[in-house]
Symmetry: D2
């Protein structure tokens, strides 16, 4: 499982009156990168929900905001899988602007049932795709 990178451009929608990116917008960027990382591995979440009745949800998150991004910045969001547990994935993510790291995040994404949000083992077929 190697590092994945996804580009994100900062638009007006992402900023706040402080002149920088609103802190919760970074979570949207992190999630886009995780979604594209899964897609690159052949996993489409809408299909996963419909066909297997499963969704990945963030259960824990540790965030360190180091420096702000601004309107028009071209960011790169990384996804680095650390560990696959029975029912969750541990990931490390960064948000970079040019050479600077703006944010680091440790993320636990839990596999839950789409209807009741009950923790459930990650299917073997998904784990295989992630390890390829």
């Amino acid at each position: 499982m190697s590092e994945f990178r996804w580009p994100v451009r900062v638009y007006w929608e992402d900023t706040d009156a402080g002149g920088v990116v609103y802190h919760a917008s970074y979570l949207r960027f992190l999630e886009r990168a995780r979604t594209e990382w899964l897609r690159a591995a052949g996993i489409t979440q809408s299909t996963l929900a419909e066909q297997s009745g499963l969704v990945f949800v963030v259960s824990r998150m540790q965030l360190h905001f180091r420096a702000p991004a601004r309107l028009d910045d071209a960011l790169e969001i990384t996804v680095k899988p650390l560990q696959a547990r029975r029912a969750s994935l541990e990931l490390e993510q960064q948000i970079l602007c040019q050479q600077t790291c703006l944010l680091t995040a440790s993320v636990r994404a839990a596999c839950v049932t789409a209807d009741a949000f009950k923790p459930t083992p990650i299917p073997e077929s998904i784990l295989e795709k992630l390890h390829r």
Copy 2:
């Protein structure tokens, strides 16, 4: 069907780097007021979706942005029902800050099936609640 008013406070999340409220945030405010207008009439949308399989969706909207709102502003959002059609409601909404009107909106909210988003007549029981 008389006018309804709902207070909304402007937070960082609603603003953009222009120092004012991001234009799409006003639509969130308008929707909160419509939701509370329905709730005041005894209609809870989550219940409506679960029990009747129906949701109201915006099908048309005409917006006039007159003046910007800013961080910490205390706004009032109005809902004035104009007409109830077979499968949609026509509403007029305003966003006010003190005496000033910041935005006017004409909104058509269509009644659709929750699964396929097919236009469907508004149930009599709903119309009665709205006319009370």
Copy 3:
């Protein structure tokens, strides 16, 4: 001034509990496309604000929501400039999913001063770039 197209992918952040894209999210998509249309013409809005003290803001918008987009949809957002007035631009925009038009929008973007949001003529240099 010809038509411009910008791709947008639908993520979890854009959807709501109705299972489709939240109606205000489409305005974010429309704005991204307008931003990239300006960028393609050599106009960066953060630079415009800093160097000329000008921002473009939506002053009027007419929206027709025809069909919903869903998670993972690959959308295309169009920008078609209709008319450049002294202090505003008239644009037509569409949101497409494959061959289907999901939304049409008429947008007036007004040029205002970045500090007081006072309407102001669009600089000649900007108009030239848009007409190229």
Copy 4:
């Protein structure tokens, strides 16, 4: 410094296609409560920025998502100040739905200059208001 509570209603805007509140929306709720906690202490952030050139920004955050909130839920967001450092505040926050705790958060809010986002000591006048 005692615990503060702020009510938040869940609207369509806050939810995602999973049928629950989108994970980044909780950060908006947490921020509203911090804003109202400051306001209750006599601190208005827009005034703080204009008059003192200071803003509070989240620099670190630890989140534990325990259970999802859903459309129409009436939530309570708590703010419990733990410690005031020279240039930052340590807070503990919870999101509650009826008796259930849905989310716990440890938040460090740093005081920075509004222009350059440089860490700066919290003014005595602010600390006094927070300790009252």
